[in-house]
């Protein structure tokens, strides 16, 4: 079953995402900031990374850049969690190498359908 890395400094969001995905049968690992996520990614190769943008220590954009330098993550789908007004974040994310984004606020069904889309 596919493994997903969920990154968000907000515990409630992170847990909601993890729970939703686990219910659907995915394996999920959580990380609360970019650095922890990067470490996790180096230890295990995930099929998908979902990350918030605004985080302490290492933000989402930086995380994407770092991930893309890893040999195992050149083609891995990486989705950003952005807000509708964060157009500049989408651009920055894309430049960093993000695959796409999920707009907050989203409900679990939207999350799942996007994830299924990307992992099919």
């Amino acid at each position: 079953m596919a493994t997903i890395l969920a990154v968000d400094d907000s515990a409630s969001m992170r847990k909601m995402v993890a729970f939703t995905l686990k219910q659907a049968g995915y394996d999920v690992v959580e990380a609360e900031d970019g650095q922890k996520a990067l470490n996790a990614a180096k230890g295990k190769t995930f099929n998908l990374v979902i990350s918030d943008v605004n985080m302490p220590i290492m933000d989402g954009i930086q995380l994407i850049k770092e991930l893309r330098t890893l040999p195992n993550y050149k083609f891995t789908p990486i989705l950003m969690l952005t807000t509708e007004s964060g157009a500049d974040k989408k651009t920055a994310g894309k430049q960093a190498g993000a695959t796409g984004w999920i707009v907050k606020p989203f409900n679990p069904d939207q999350l799942l359908s996007t994830v299924q889309r990307v992992l099919s």
Partner: protein
């Protein structure tokens, strides 16, 4: 599938309140002149998180409100907007509003909608009106052509390195209708020049069906900028061209990663975190507690010891055939160990419920800041002993009294800068909150270097109110204590925070209800100090056991002033029934415990008995008892939940021998007896 999101709500509320606290601290710092970009960024992030979370969990009003805050903060952190005092104050007010909004959502309490609206309007007004409405591009007419779409899709070479996969996109398109694909291989280099990670192919796609342009565009949404994309309506009538080879699965080579089967990364967060500050203050008790892991570990150790002792003791019981001296000694040693283990376990468990008083002290920087500006005074707040721990319930209940005392100090104690300078003091007054452990109590001091009490004014007011007699003279300490009388206030006008005259007596009542005491000492011209003493826990009481007839009662040690042998000549009878005892210069009412609790009337003179002098609610009285038994800690059990509320009794406990002893409510009993003797007086008169 539907997932019940409410299971995440509590975490969301906890972290949002924490976030609001950190925003407030940050904003206060910002207000002091720190234009640190990291600081602004962290304030922004907190607002952003709350906005995101509240949107996700459906708290739309909160999301909308925090969105405006976030926008303002965004401009500040980008340097587009200067950080001004007005801005900071408005944001501080907004933090309060969000707190109220979240509390209303969580507890179902009422919300001042008007305040929300006006604060939000204030934020919006402050924001530049040139803020562009960032929205999705509208205006694409939803034309659903009968035939479909012709799509020319030319990825840029790096497209796959964004994790996007043309095959996936085509599969999605195929779900919208009948899809034909035609691949263009012209850009494909010879094998030796081919870089596997790059995309050299492009496609012409025909999607037949009723899909809308939006639906098609949505599929390519993520790769906008990584490709050339042309979407044109298919001419109605163009049928599927069967000659075009359908090459749907031919995709350029890419290095796809096989799923590595490795050990699951153990990066799960544990729910008990090391000394992390939990949410606090707001009266809403969410019924959960965060405990430092070392406390839990200590607890586990204690229980371990207990188990060992218990098995040792049962061993003694089993081994022995005959109970001789040696086994008796072992038994006694074992029992001592047991006592020690139990006591340590008890302390350890109680410590779990203890939190540092900083959770209460935290609200004061903001309060002092706001009050200072409101009152036009300069006040510096000093906090010490914030790490002193006390029981969670006591902590929650001591908050309001502390606030009242601080407000009182700021309102009546500390003078305006002009007044202070005129007196030769520094412009800025000092308000010092201090906490420390003493004996089995926590002591909290609130000290100001303000004006101190105007004793003449207080005495005059007390005479006016009839609290003291016209000719009564009181010592300085007694005058100071007068401020705790109900309805007492010397404020000339009722300022909206204190001075309503409902304050101090309620404060004292609240503290007494917690099993504590409050005292005040004042130095006119120099300042005032309030000293609060609270027990470290509500569940346990230091008690003096007394015998009344065949019954044992417990009198709280904290209320006992002294105990003495009764001397008949000191007893005076007033109006035939009520009796008083002359204790040095005082006459204190005698309460005969036998009478009070309807225990068989003692025979004989008082000389056989003892007088326990107690104090409750500032009044002294003497309890007549037969004997003083030991002093011990008793566990308070509620009478109310097990039976019903009884006047004069504050609870019950189970003694070592298994019998029940009632715990005397000192203040209540004094009140009761007074009523009784008043009514007897009336009937006599």
């Amino acid at each position: 599938m539907s997932i019940d999101m409410s299971q995440f709500h509590q975490v969301f509320f906890e972290e949002s309140f924490e976030g609001l606290d950190s925003m407030e601290t940050g904003l206060l710092e910002l207000g002091q002149g720190g234009e640190d970009p990291d600081l602004i960024n962290s304030i922004f992030r907190a607002a952003h998180s709350i906005k995101g979370g509240s949107g996700t969990f459906g708290f739309t009003a909160v999301a909308n409100f925090t969105h405006v805050m976030e926008t303002l903060l965004d401009e500040m952190r980008d340097g587009k907007r200067e950080v001004t005092t007005d801005g900071v104050n408005l944001l501080l007010a907004s933090v309060d509003v969000v707190r109220d909004m979240l509390t209303a959502v969580r507890d179902g309490s009422s919300l001042d909608e008007e305040r929300v609206g006006s604060t939000q309007a204030g934020l919006e007004a402050m924001l530049d009106s040139t803020e562009e409405a960032t929205g999705t591009e509208e205006g694409q007419a939803k034309i659903a052509p009968a035939a479909g779409w012709q799509i020319v899709f030319k990825p840029l070479p790096h497209l796959m390195q964004t994790g996007n996969d043309p095959a996936r996109m085509f599969r999605e398109l195929a779900q919208l209708g009948d899809l034909e694909t035609e691949v263009d291989l012209t850009e494909l280099p010879p094998l030796e020049d081919l870089t596997p990670e790059e995309c050299y192919l492009s496609w012409k796609l025909s999607l037949h069906g009723e899909a809308t342009r939006e639906q098609v565009e949505e599929i390519f949404e993520w790769v906008d900028g990584d490709c050339e994309l042309n979407i044109n309506p298919l001419q109605p009538g163009s049928a599927k061209n069967e000659d075009t080879p359908e090459i749907q699965d031919e995709v350029p080579e890419k290095t796809k990663n096989t799923q590595a089967v490795s050990d699951p990364a153990a990066s799960k967060n544990s729910t008990t975190t090391q000394k992390s500050p939990a949410r606090a203050k707001s009266g809403g008790d969410s019924g959960s507690i965060r405990v430092g892991i070392e406390k839990v570990d200590a607890l586990i150790n204690m229980v371990g010891e207990l188990v060992i002792t218990q098995s040792m003791l049962s061993q003694i019981g089993e081994d022995v055939e005959e109970f001789d001296q040696a086994s008796f000694e072992r038994l006694r040693d074992g029992l001592q160990d047991l006592e020690r283990n139990t006591r340590e376990l008890q302390e350890s468990v109680m410590r779990i419920r203890m939190l540092p008083i900083s959770f209460s002290f935290n609200r004061f920087p903001r309060l002092v800041h706001d009050l200072s500006s409101k009152l036009g005074k300069k006040v510096e707040l000093k906090l010490s002993g914030e790490g002193t721990e006390l029981d969670k319930t006591v902590l929650e209940k001591i908050g309001d009294p502390l606030v009242h005392l601080v407000r009182n100090s700021m309102d009546h104690g500390i003078e305006t800068p002009d007044q202070r300078v005129a007196k030769g003091k520094s412009e800025t007054g000092i308000l010092h909150l201090n906490a420390y452990h003493q004996g089995g109590n926590i002591v909290i001091e609130i000290e100001d270097d303000g004006a101190g009490f105007n004793r003449e004014k207080i005495t005059a007011k007390a005479r006016e109110r009839g609290v003291i007699g016209e000719n009564e003279t009181l010592s300085d300490e007694e005058i100071d204590q007068l401020i705790f009388e109900p309805g007492f206030s010397t404020a000339d006008e009722i300022s909206d925070m204190s001075g309503r005259g409902v304050g101090m007596d309620v404060v004292r009542r609240n503290i007494i209800d917690l099993g504590g005491t409050v005292e005040v000492t004042s130095r006119p011209g120099e300042g005032t100090t309030f000293t609060i003493r609270l027990p470290l826990t509500l569940a346990i009481l230091d008690g003096q056991l007394v015998r009344v007839g065949n019954e044992t009662y417990v009198v709280p040690l904290v209320s006992i002033v002294e105990s003495l042998q009764i001397r008949d000549e000191q007893i005076n009878t007033v109006s035939g029934r009520a009796q008083v005892y002359k204790l040095r210069d005082d006459y204190i009412p005698i309460i005969n415990m036998h009478d009070a609790f309807s225990i068989q009337e003692r025979h004989g003179e008082y000389a056989d008995g003892l007088l326990v002098v107690v104090e409750g609610n500032g009044q002294k009285a003497g309890f007549v008892v037969d004997d003083l038994l030991g002093q011990q800690q008793v566990v308070i059990k509620s009478l109310e939940t097990n039976y019903k509320r009884v006047k004069g009794v504050s609870g019950a406990t189970i003694l070592g021998d298994g019998t029940v002893a009632l715990i005397v409510d000192v203040a209540g009993l004094i009140r009761l007896s007074r009523k009784k003797s008043n009514s007897t007086l009336r009937s006599v008169a």
